[in-house]
Symmetry: C2
Subunit: 365 residues, 2 copies
């Protein structure tokens, strides 16, 4: 599949190694000093490739992004693991839910939710339930999008997709069960620590539920997938505006909900919540622009999913419409917009969201 | 399809006309005086067929069940219509959502929700959002269950099923969008009248959300469908216990959530809520026993869906395991259990739930 794509890709857009080459061009001292996954080095790499003159503002040296992400992922994985009883009947369903939900994944959405709770002064544990719910919704959308009647994908997070292992019926039902579990989890009193404000907590949960629900259906993930499917294989050239619609709905909407839910649970003011919403929209679009770039520059093995799929299936992507250079410049602009929204927050508390933006800009898979 | 089934059915269980013959045996004076859809007449019919000696307690003569149901259905249909913008993008998705959701249907679940709100002393409008949400969830489960990879049904509510009209991909996505819309609708402040108690309302919404979410996934509809699919075509005889598991999950769970949500929104006490939960479990199972009976005694035209489907596909049903007579006796027992739970409530306020139980027992489609 990857081979077939590379031939196809070469005939359509200028494809070359993106970040490996870029890393060589990055300022050596900072990249040597930086930890393995340090955002600064990789972001510098993108900037260098895009030909931008100014280096990004240095992230606070004392923030350990790798540890932050590892700890958050562990916290969320524990919550996800506890939410689905292993072996309980119906065993096939629970097994399929655990197979898809606990398959790894970077837990970017939960981390955004927790970090947004923290930036407005909340304890991250107050937002753990919506954080886990965001991952359930994300996994649901992957399971359904991978179905034979949709994107027909057989590899996801480095493993065979749900319908390949359990059949189509169970895959449809697994998605449904994960979707409802997300709301069950958010609404369950048992999902929260005892120190939530009993007066304010229910109203925050209702508001978070509203944000989560809105980002899924005809204003979010599903709308994006419908328009995406309608474009696939269409003979007309997809205009940039429609591509942005797809990405804002398929990707940015859930990232936005994750951030906004965190800010709500943390007790953020309306003004703070709206600023964080703008931050989230920028990194949401950024996430997809980078995804599109990775699809044409990485192998299936590196991505843990079928590479070149977008191009092979004639899907509209940023590299296809803008070319790789312009796509990278656009990514840089979105990162800069996102950073701007964090300016008014306490620097130390905003560090996780700042580093998450960097991470989304330069991730390798 | 119906012809093929009748041949098949005749060779397996004693099949005869159920309620038309029964109606003739019902006490003539009350059946003449009753309105066209009056519960008493039809319930008497079931009792007569089942050979029970005692007639059911007469329902209050002044309660106009037909008008009650018509008014509730109109109220719910207005809410459902307003919840999905016609023509708004993505048009194909909204069209498919409206096609399935506004296709008619008896709106039994919303009526149960509204009636339960009323029986504990609430204004029915306080429960309109969860009532509409219950119908969205019900429709979602029909759309997904009808898919080719599941029950492969092409007729529903007298119309071609969603995937027949819009294709499988849109059908999967329509279900997802309806499911998330249900939670969006329950969580939206705009779904409630201004006279809800601002102090107590958010906690009630959270509790209702919890009940709705729980009845869908691996503790509800989805679990029932998974076990049902696993049994279909299996060579072993499905034990009665497993059949009850399927029905309690596939059907009773959402009826239970509908009733309990109504009681919560109406401000019912925990004791009232638990009594109504028991009522709902009885009528939930009753609903499916009657559905099973109708499947073997009615034509596709009368049902508005493919008749004989359960038998043709070798699905376990009550008539298949117990025979028609015993199935009718079981239905009668469940109705009696449900009525018992209503005994402690104000008679006038309990009239809608009482008549809904009768209606579920003797409905014709």
């Amino acid at each position: 599949m990857a081979m077939a794509f590379q031939t196809l890709a070469a005939s359509r857009v200028r494809v070359g190694p993106l970040l490996p080459a870029a890393a060589a061009a990055a300022p050596t001292p900072s990249s040597v000093a930086a930890p393995r996954h340090h955002p600064r080095r990789r972001f510098s790499a993108i900037v260098a490739v895009a030909g931008a003159a100014a280096a990004p503002a240095a992230a606070p040296a004392e923030f350990d992004f790798d540890s932050y992400m590892t700890e958050r992922a562990e916290m969320v994985n524990r919550a996800l693991d506890a939410a689905i009883p292993a072996g309980a009947p119906p065993a096939a369903l629970h097994e399929a839910m655990r197979y898809t939900l606990l398959a790894g994944g970077k837990r970017v959405r939960p981390a955004l939710c927790l970090a947004a709770c923290g930036v407005v002064g909340g304890r991250e544990e107050w937002a753990l339930a919506p954080a886990a719910a965001a991952e359930m919704v994300h996994t649901m959308s992957l399971v359904h999008d991978d179905l034979p009647c949709m994107d027909d994908d057989d590899l996801r997070r480095g493993k065979p997709t749900c319908h390949v292992v359990y059949g189509e019926a169970i895959a449809v039902l697994t998605g449904d069960a994960l979707l409802s579990l997300a709301f069950h989890h958010v609404a369950s009193p048992g999902s929260y620590p005892p120190d939530v404000d009993p007066e304010k907590h229910p109203a925050r949960v209702v508001r978070a539920t509203f944000e989560l629900a809105r980002c899924i259906g005809s204003e979010g993930l599903v709308a994006g997938q419908v328009v995406d499917l309608a474009n696939t294989g269409a003979s007309e050239v997809v205009p940039l505006e429609r591509l942005e619609y797809i990405h804002l709905h398929k990707t940015a909407a859930l990232l936005e909900a994750s951030v906004v839910m965190g800010a709500i649970m943390g007790g953020g003011t309306d003004e703070q919540i709206e600023r964080l919403r703008k931050y989230a929209r920028s990194i949401g679009l950024l996430f997809q622009v980078v995804d599109d770039i990775l699809d044409v520059t990485k192998s299936s093995e590196e991505l843990g999913k079928t590479a070149g799929k977008d191009l092979a299936s004639d899907k509209a992507t940023y590299p296809k419409l803008l070319g790789l250079e312009k796509s990278r410049e656009f990514a840089e602009k979105l990162l800069s917009d996102a950073k701007e929204q964090l300016a008014g927050f306490d620097k130390e508390k905003a560090a996780p969201l700042l580093h998450l933006a960097y991470y989304i800009a330069h991730r390798q898979n």
